[in-house]
């Protein structure tokens, strides 16, 4: 079979070029993401000032709201600013899947063991 897809020299980088008109659309998207990130940060700061830490259920809910908002921000930064969303699906998966497998396991084990350690401290204090 005749190959016409071979990449020589800097073709990958050269292929990323876009026109002035496309640039206008891309910049519009960048400014939109900027507004989203700023608004989420403002909401987080507002909530941080407003709510006091407590043992109550509401604080647990607020804590999870912070984490979800943070993940939203992280998603926008990675997918839009780092334009991982525009890359091939297999690069996206090669970056994200191994990371989440490791990190979720680490979070699980550290919190579990931390709380167990807390229980031991309480018992023998």
């Amino acid at each position: 079979m005749e190959r016409d897809d071979l990449i020589v020299n800097d073709s990958y980088a050269l292929n990323a070029h876009h026109s002035e008109e496309e640039g206008v659309a891309i910049r519009k998207k960048i400014y939109l993401v900027t507004v989203i990130l700023s608004v989420i940060t403002a909401i987080e700061v507002g909530m941080g000032v407003m709510f006091k830490r407590s043992e109550a259920f509401t604080w647990t809910a607020i804590k999870w709201t912070f984490i979800v908002l943070t993940l939203f921000k992280a998603g926008y930064i990675v997918m839009s600013f780092m334009h991982l969303g525009d890359e091939r699906k297999n690069l996206r998966n090669a970056v994200i899947i191994p990371y989440f497998v490791f990190i979720l396991y680490l979070i699980f084990i550290a919190i579990t063991e931390g709380l167990a350690h807390y229980g031991m401290d309480q018992m023998f204090h």
């Binding site: 960048i30 000032v49 984490i67 780092m82």
Partner: protein
Amino acid sequence: MSGEAKSAISKEVLWGGGRSPFSVSYGKMMMWYFLVSDALTFGGLLIAYAFWRASSVDPWPIGEQAFRALPGLEGEYPLAYVALMTFILIVSSVTMVLAVEAGHRNDRSGVLKWMGLTVIGGIFFLGSQAWEWSHFIHGSGGCFNLAKEVTITTPDGDALTLPAGERVYMDHHFGHLMEMHIQDPLTVPISEDGGHVVLTELGDHPHEAHLHSLRINKYIEDETELEGDAMMTLWNARSENFSFGAPIPGLGADWGGINHSEYATQQGYSNFFFFITGFHGFHVFSGVIINLVVFLMVLNRVMERRKHYEMVEKVGLYWHFVDLVWVFVFTFFYLI
């Protein structure tokens, strides 16, 4: 920005060699792999922090009570300064992505403008962090421990019994004047005047400082501010151990030592805070340097000779990653 990534490759030729199965250049792919490993490092650090916090029996400091100062202003503005720092970093991330976009249009002057602004944003962030660190290290103005059990009346009218050894925090201004005399605390001329403690400095610059209020539960619970009689009761029950901010090694017991310092309540918090924000600050610093190098390369028309600005895209990835880490640091140290 997708470029090559969107072009279809037939299954037959995909594994035939000669091209990247990810349709990105080698350098960009390696930058992604580096970022994954660096993200695991930061993830590991933040998870270690979570472990420490979950296992801690002692109360944990509250972010908005520890960080609420603004440079040059009296009063309290919880989270305002760190919100400003976050905003600076987000804006510098935006200027970076605009530089990448300009690069894809071969717009050299656009790249220079946006990269220059990114470098300036990074320098502003580093400066803000330096101020915040120095402010946090210096602390609230000092604290002392109670020598004996004391019962006081809170502003709400409740009777409150504080055990011996309870930490009491002094007024910022008073603490700073006290600091100059602390190496010989017993000879500091202190008097009482109308429910206030007055410190008179007899040195070259005569100056009086009034202690108007004391604080308990600072950093860890809803703090209580005490004035008048309650304040005087606490002041009279003080032990001789004063400390100011973080302990300074080698200055001896008069400075309080590590067990009496302002952060002795929860040393783990400040250890992790300084390590993780310090490690992040180091990333910002190296990001600024690398951005500056690429800026100079663009200035010297290196990218024009290469006919593409992929280098800008690669440092951009690193710079956005620095912003990404800060988003998590912000949540876990200041908000939760």
